[in-house]
Amino acid sequence: MALITPLREAVSSLIHDGDTVALEGFTHLIPHAAGHEIIRQGKKDLTLVRMTPDLIYDQLIGMGCARKLIFSWGGNPGVGSLHRFRDAVEQGWPHKLETVEHSHAGMANAYVAGASNLPFALLRGYTGSDLPKVNPWIRFVECPFTGEKLAAIPSVRPDVTVIHAQKADKRGNVLLWGILGVQKEAALAAKRAIVTVEEVVDELNAPANACVLPSWALAAVCPVPGGAYPSYAQDYSQRDNKFYKDWDPIARNRDSFLAWMKRHVLETEDFAGFVRVLGESVARETV
């Protein structure tokens, strides 16, 4: 049963050094506040899983939280490279980052297989691609009826999945809508699921067949209004496209990255603190 929990407590008690952790959200509903809290608490040696490692993973990787990354597309959407990700892969800074690389179809199926408690995902995929040459976790199985060869990859079964959603009710049932990505599968594939939410309401009033995650399937629900920033929550906030562009020069250089992280994340108490300091930075810029 998910109790309504402060984010700091949830991250501290549910995420351990060495865990496999998935923070999911497909452009929409990316759990940035939770990523910051992981950095603040100095979690180490994580195996990070995410279809589209973007700014949130650039920050986690640059701050040395990750030992390994399982992913299918790593970039700053609409802008270009993830400089911290590239620095880790190309130069081993701040330390070497092991990567396991899939396609989106592979990752999406691996989450489905994880949620379904299957050891592997079965898909038509990777044929003709060089990915199987560099990823020993892509194998092939034969259909016992037709003899056809199909791709098989291990399920994703994170120790912890973190997602952001629009609403929870007081019992900890969660409702999300709009672009859902792989969040439901990621949450159900995990041993422990943490959900940050825009607001806690008395009644969800979910439409028929909406995407609801029942409280008892979750480990913690944490109210963090705006906690997807600079990503967005449909019907609550807009994506801050400018921030994605601004991130490029900040992350390009190790020192400017570290200085930014220190000021905005390490030296702020929580997400509200981050928002306040970021506001100050933006105000200063625009003077």
């Binding site: 497909f26 452009t27 929409h28 279809m51 589209t52 973007d54 992913f71 299918s72 597309w73 790593g74 970039g75 700053n76 959407p77 609409g78 802008v79 270009g80 490279s81 990700f85 590239r86 892969v89 190309e90 690389e101 899939h102 396609s103 989106h104 179809a105 999406a108 199926n109 989450y111 489905v112 898909l123 038509r124 995929g125 990777y126 044929t127 003709g128 691609s129 060089d130 990915l131 560099v134 056809e148 060869k149 709009g178 672009i179 859902l180 990505g181 792989v182 439901k184 599968e185 967005y232 449909q234 807009q238 994506r239 496209n241 400018k242 562009k245």
Partner: protein, 263 residues
């Protein structure tokens, strides 16, 4: 209708858009493919069905999405399903007529690379990676690829095949058991390349007005074949250009920029 001046990117975009027939079900990548597909929707193909990997089916965005998960895609779609469902029921399910992709690099058999420049284990440049492309390239009934033509992009040998075109050419793709028909057009800022029906080697079959064959050869990292009956690409008509520019102006106003990516 009077003629307007147009840029190389504009003729590329309009040419790509023209290839999309009305009613086509199109799996759209962010960036140039999304621009071309939405232009088609706003001009000659109002019933084109746009599917984005983040989940929207039948998206009708009023401005170009900056990211694959923009709210506008969700709000204008006929329905929004999960990403696993997109890849399982809709793409792998064999329901996509056209996969519309961009690429960092391409070879003569329309294989594409979006993974690394240099060796995989010690890359010179780490590119974003596969995203949805390998399975889109494999499973859509046909594939259009849109990218700017130059020697860095059109290479003799890819350091990494992220997504299969025709592999080594001929019937290599079919032999590998790849279900979709593969790339049928590569639309660049210089012309349109289509695979030879037998060898599957990309051949320049249409050249944009004002571009010379020498220029195209110069921008290609292999000895590019030129079609005997090389056509000149129809110039963008004023209606299409106006629609494109309006779309981009609306987009700039909404987003402050006009790039895009997965994520």
């Amino acid at each position: 209708m009077s003629e307007l001046e147009f840029s190389a990117t504009e003729i590329m975009t309009v040419a790509a858009s023209r290839l999309l027939g009305n009613g086509t079900v199109c799996f759209v990548g962010i960036g140039l493919p999304s621009t071309a597909a939405n232009l088609a929707r706003l001009t000659h193909a109002p019933d084109v069905v746009l599917i984005y990997e983040s989940g929207p089916i039948g998206a009708k965005p009023t401005v170009l999405p900056l990211s694959i998960g923009d709210g506008d895609l969700s709000l204008t779609a006929d329905t929004v399903v999960s990403t696993p469902e997109i890849f399982r029921y809709w793409l792998q399910g064999g329901r996509i007529d056209v996969g519309f992709l961009g690429a960092a690099q391409i070879d003569r058999f329309a294989n594409i690379n979006t993974t690394v420049i240099g060796p995989y284990d010690a890359p010179k440049v780490r590119l974003p990676g596969a995203g949805g492309a390998p399975e889109i390239a494999a499973q859509a009934k046909e594939v259009f690829i849109v990218l700017k033509q130059n020697k860095k992009a059109f290479v003799e040998k890819l350091p990494f095949i992220t997504s299969a075109g025709f592999l080594d050419g001929g019937d290599a793709r079919e032999k590998a058991g790849i279900p979709g028909g593969g790339p049928t057009a590569v639309i660049t800022d210089l012309g349109i390349l289509t695979p030879d029906p037998v060898t599957r080697e990309l051949t320049l079959t249409s050249i944009h007005p004002g571009v010379t064959v020498e220029q195209v050869k110069e921008a290609t990292g292999w000895d590019l074949k030129i079609a005997a009956d090389l056509k000149t690409t129809e110039i963008p008509d004023a209606a299409a250009l106006t629609a494109l520019r309006d779309l981009q102006a609306r987009t700039a106003k909404a987003h402050g920029q006009n790039a895009g990516g997965e994520g």
